[in-house]
Symmetry: C2
DNA sequence: TAATACCCTATTTACTTGGTAGGGTATGCA
DNA sequence: TGCATACCCTACCAAGTAAATAGGGTATTA
């Protein structure tokens, strides 16, 4: 299940991507427009900044803005920063791999092979979708 | 993230599907073979029985067995019974739909449209995969 | 210098997961 | 009939996570 954190994060990113100019937008502005708890959104944007998807400007007239062009921000990056693994199970994860304790042979595991298929397909979608695609809705 | 419940359930189902004849298999047998906590597995198999994927026989020589042919058991059914929604977000779920509180217009929501794509692809995989496919690993 | 707005840590509440415990009940076989 | 087997059912618990809240600190700019 997608966390609210990721959901709010994506919404905030599309909000920023839709801005004409690249002047910073205050957290409170996004919070009101997208119906997101101010403090919760604050921590999400902070995470995105630490992971170099967003940048910020302090003080009066400050706020957050995109570090790259919307067309250069892939959903794989956003998902991994906010949600963590894209795979449904750690034993098929590319970036968050972990071996199953109960499973002696991954290649003989039905769950492993099924979830590998799901991962491949989901990955393909996230790779082929950028922030600019999401703004077209 | 896939729950252990679903993972164990699929493993148990493939174990049953691999049986030559359709004689009942005791929970303890599957538990040992697949390294699954006995009592936890018991509750999982019970769920599968209540949802008419498995049937059981009580008493000596009893156990669980498949109600249908492996090739007739789609992964969509298994996933919905054990994991719940296949979608990553309730607002795109076919069987567990729920409206987002913060979202005034679903069709204008970037998250909604992205997750709809993911759902379609995952659904396609689960629909085209039966228990007999999983046994081929 | 004062207002703005980001920055950071800590805490709370509610919920879910995974597992445990213990006994009840139906079945088959000697 | 009686006993062992093995499913059936309810309740409980520890640990972790999600989502939100609180409160203050710091940099910037007008």
């Amino acid at each position: 299940m997608l966390s609210k954190k990721t959901k709010y994060g994506i919404k905030a990113l599309t909000y920023l991507a839709r801005q004409e100019n690249k002047t910073p937008v205050a957290i409170a502005t996004i919070s009101k427009s997208e119906n997101i708890s101010l403090k919760f959104l604050e921590s999400i944007l902070l995470t995105l900044r630490k992971n170099e998807i967003l940048a910020s400007k302090k003080g009066k007239g400050g706020g957050y803005y995109l570090l790259k062009e919307p067309s250069e921000i892939q959903m794989t990056a956003v998902m991994r920063v906010l949600e963590g693994p894209i795979s449904m199970i750690p034993c098929v994860s590319l970036n968050f791999y972990e071996k199953c304790k109960d499973c002696p042979d991954e290649n003989a595991c039905a769950v492993h092979n099924l979830m590998e298929q799901v991962r491949d397909n989901t990955l393909k979608i996230f790779r082929n979708t950028t922030l600019s695609d999401l703004c077209k809705c």
